[in-house]
Each structure stands twice: as C-alpha cells, then as structure tokens.
C-alpha cells in the first residue's frame, strides 16, 4: 500500500492530479482551506498504487508519495 500526504493548505484545488490518477482515487474535498479553495483529498487510500503521477502533475508540489 502506498501513502499520500497532501498539504491541504497549499492546495489550490485545480484538480489536475485527479485527471492523471490511473485509479481515479482523488477528488476535491467538501471543506475549504484558508485560501478558500476545495483541497484535493483521497478517500480510498488502500487502493493507491504509489505511481506518483499526481505528485508529478501538481503545479504546487503539495503531494508527497511513500510506498
């Protein structure tokens, strides 16, 4: 199992990471962060394969991937 650590306060909710996730695990959260954006979140952490596509796509480098 892989682990994603998302810096939710730095996320601007552009959603580009969700586009490239091969497992379609990422989605914008309902809550808003201090900047006023809906940060990205992962619900099904168990299914993450740790490919790090999301982290390589993220313009704000808010995702750390461990495996």
């Amino acid at each position: 199992m892989a682990k994603l650590t998302i810096d939710r306060e730095a996320c601007k909710g552009c959603g580009l990471c969700a586009e490239v996730c091969p497992k379609h695990l990422l989605a914008l959260s309902r809550e808003i962060n201090a900047k006023g954006y809906h940060p990205i979140g992962i619900e099904d952490q168990e299914s993450c394969i740790g490919c790090a596509f999301c982290a390589r796509m993220c313009p704000d480098a808010v995702i750390k991937v461990e495996k």
Partner: protein
C-alpha cells in the same frame, strides 16, 4: 516506507502565487529538481524575468537576481562572464523573451553564451491581463485581439526555438510540453540536459516549455491542457531543434 516523490529542497516553502492549474509551478519544480540532481545548488544563479514569474526569486532555493523586462539574458551574460564557474540560468515568459527581450535573447544565443534559458511559452501575456503576445496563435482570442489574432493585421506567431536554432552559437535547443505526466518526464530530461550542456561548457542552451494559462485563456485547468495539446503543439512542434555534440 520509502519516499517515492516529495517536493525538492531546491524550492522554498513559500506558497506559489500562480493561479490554480498554472503550469509555471510544474516548470519551477522541474528546474529545481534538475539543479538538485546535478548537485550544483551552491553555485547556481537564477535570473527572474518580468511577467507572472517575476517572483521566481522567492521560490528557488539558490541565488537569484531580478532583471528588467526582457533583459535576463544580458544580466546572465554578465553573471557568467564574471564568474564562469557559476551555473547561470534565466527563467522567462514569451512576452518577456519573444517581444521586448527579442534582441537580448537573439544576441546571447548567437554569442553562444554558456547559460541556460528556460522559456515558458503560454501564447499570451499573463500578468498584465491576457493581451496578445508574439506567440499568440492565429485566430486566438485575447483581450487585444477580441475577434481572434488576424495574421494579416498582426503578423504570424514567432517560433523562437526554430529561429534561434538557425544560429551558429547555441549548443542545445529543445521544445517540450507539460500537458501530461509523460511529457513532464520528457521535459525534465531536456531541462536537465540543458544544465549539463552548460556544466560541460558546450555553450548556450534553451528549453522552450509549452505552458497553459487557464485564467487568461478563459478555461478550466483541465480544458487548458487539452487546448494546449490540440492547438499549440501543431503550431509549435515538440522536439530537439539543435544539438551540438
């Protein structure tokens, strides 16, 4: 657990001011990772442009300078000639490099200055509110071409990489894109190679990166990347334009 991917230490903790989905952040990261991997952080000097990336000096964890609009290659020339052992790069947009800075980049290239230029081409002036740039595509709507760019009236877009590749000075020129993960990985290779070209003292290197501007294109970040792939790549073909062995 082993770390597969995390933010490079060559970027500071300051949050980027770019709009959501702006690919400047991706390009910053690729440049920072390349410097980090080559182990030249302590002797690298970056030159920030005027444009959206004007605050780049806040984001790169190496020595940085700010140049007047379009003059980054001239400042870089000075830096490099005074301290030839430093690694000097400029980070410029299309309004900065292809318009007001067209003379500086052309002459830095033809002199074969041993610097690396990261040229971010998003086909529009971003910071000033989405005006037509020298790189705006024919028919593209901007605030100063509301009916679409008419080449008969405004001329045709400049292909900077091809134009500079005709000169004898440059050692390495390539055009890359960051619209998906595969192209991001390829862009990283080319950016790293450009820095290696400088480290090996081969001469001038330039990487043109096709970039999205969702805000001024009036699109979502996802739509902007699709538009880039469908419209910009046919106008600006990807690939290595010049390579001196």
């Amino acid at each position: 657990m082993a770390v597969v991917y995390e933010k490079t230490k060559l970027l500071t903790d300051k949050p980027l001011h770019y709009c959501p989905g702006c690919t400047h952040g991706i390009i910053h990261r690729l440049v920072a990772e390349s410097i980090d991997e080559l182990g030249v952080q302590e002797k690298t000097i970056g030159i920030a442009p005027v444009g959206c990336a004007v605050f780049a000096y806040d984001y790169f964890n190496c020595d940085m300078m700010e140049a007047a609009h379009g003059r980054a290659p001239a400042v870089a020339t000075g830096c490099k000639r005074v301290n030839p052992d430093n690694i000097v790069f400029t980070y410029q947009g299309d309004g900065d490099l292809a318009s007001i800075g067209a003379a500086e980049i052309t002459h830095a290239a033809t002199r074969g200055e041993n610097i690396t230029v990261i040229f971010v081409n998003n086909a529009i002036y971003g910071m000033t509110g989405g005006q037509m740039a020298p790189t705006t595509l024919p028919g593209q709507v901007t605030t100063t071409s509301p009916y679409g760019r008419d080449p008969k009236l405004c001329g045709y877009p400049i292909r900077v990489s091809e134009m500079l590749a005709t000169l004898d000075g440059p050692a390495y020129i390539a055009r890359v894109s960051v619209h998906d993960v595969k192209h991001i990985m390829e862009a990283k290779k080319c950016i790293r190679k450009a820095f290696e070209t400088q480290i090996n003292k081969k001469g001038f290197s330039l990487i043109e990166v096709l970039s999205a501007c969702p805000t001024n294109w009036g699109m979502t970040p996802q739509e902007a990347l699709k538009w880039l792939e469908a419209n910009m790549i046919p106008q600006y073909p990807l690939g290595v334009k010049k390579e001196v062995e």
